[in-house]
Symmetry: C2
């Protein structure tokens, strides 16, 4: 059995009891650590779950999924994902590969930023589509997400914007997780526009309602 286990959002204790049982009973345990990161390192997870977890980077998950799925029709294998397995980044591809190999799988859900953002006080009903904002480089400054934000604003809806992270060059800025562009919050514009310095005119219609959150 392949278990796809959501770890939740903070540390080793945010796993569910069901998820913990699946991890403890698995012969191999992988941690997907390139789309998001927990507030604690692998060592804390190893100690708490009693396993030697393999940290799987993007290359391993995308290019070497056969190794992850090896013998999973005979033994239990757990693949751990920060947040929910079908949250901001879905791992549908791994499940499709498992299915093609006739490997049974179980998904164990957990909190994701997609629902936990409700704790900030804005009702989830008032959010429109979620957008992802990649890191800008000197030559690549995509701004198609601004149009999505504008669509939400026209309907009077907030936007949860998920920020790209750089796992291999960790810094506070490289690991900022999300911002909300809302219909009620005041601007922390400089902070946001500084990092995602999109075209001034396009930015102007939304810039008065940006609220930035770092966790």
């Amino acid at each position: 059995m392949l278990y796809l286990v959501g770890l939740g959002l903070h540390d080793e204790k945010d796993v569910t009891v069901r998820g913990m049982e699946a991890i403890k009973g698995s012969e191999r345990v992988y941690l997907e650590a390139y789309t998001s990161i927990l507030g604690v390192g692998k060592e804390r997870l190893d100690a708490f779950y009693g396993k030697d977890i393999v940290v799987a980077d993007r290359d391993m998950v995308e290019m070497d999924s056969d190794e992850i799925l090896r013998d999973a029709d005979k033994v239990d294998v757990a693949f751990l994902v920060v947040g929910d397995p079908f949250g901001a980044t879905t791992h549908a591809d791994l499940l499709l590969r498992a299915d093609a190999l006739s490997i049974p799988y179980t998904v164990i859900h957990n909190a994701s930023v997609m629902n936990a953002v409700g704790a900030l006080g804005l009702a989830l009903y008032n959010y429109g589509q979620t957008v992802s904002i990649p890191f800008f480089t000197d030559s690549w400054r995509p701004d198609s997400w601004l149009e999505r934000v504008r669509e939400n604003m026209r309907l009077g809806l907030h936007t949860l914007c998920l920020l790209d992270i750089k796992v291999k060059e960790q810094s506070e800025e490289n690991l900022a997780r999300f911002v909300i562009v809302g219909r009620r919050f005041h601007a922390l514009e400089r902070d946001f526009a500084g990092r995602w310095a999109v075209d001034r005119e396009k930015w102007d219609d939304v810039s008065n309602t940006v609220y930035a959150v770092r966790d």
Copy 2:
């Protein structure tokens, strides 16, 4: 300390390890059981958590929150919510009351239908605003949610529609949880339109893309 603990979506093992610890350490434990229900009854939770849980109906939570919060500045009290505490139904009111009484609180997140719906295969990025659909009566057939669905469809987005439940008159139909009005799925129209028999003309533009899910 008041702990607001999300129980997740299925049974007693979907609580997180952090949530389980909060429950076990609490002097009183309440279960909010009127906006959603778990797949198992209070007895299973009592046995697994080792507590005699008080089932709190809407009247108790809304009218008698003083009893729930009693002495929570001195002892630990846990308030359990199916899914995530800030998911489809928020319990912000209870936290505001706690705050007014200088009672500290901790929120322990969990999966909600708002993110777990990702398991059905449609990316969460492609959902627009979520809507709630109340039970219709002979004299009350609100259809303002159809306009929200239409707004999403114009943007090419799916809609997660949360269906009202009747906890006190349990039946399969009274406990159906949600449907998705999507841009790709085929209709299970009869089933849906039969229960929410909105005005035929208003319904027609969305009826060709309804997909109903019961859990």
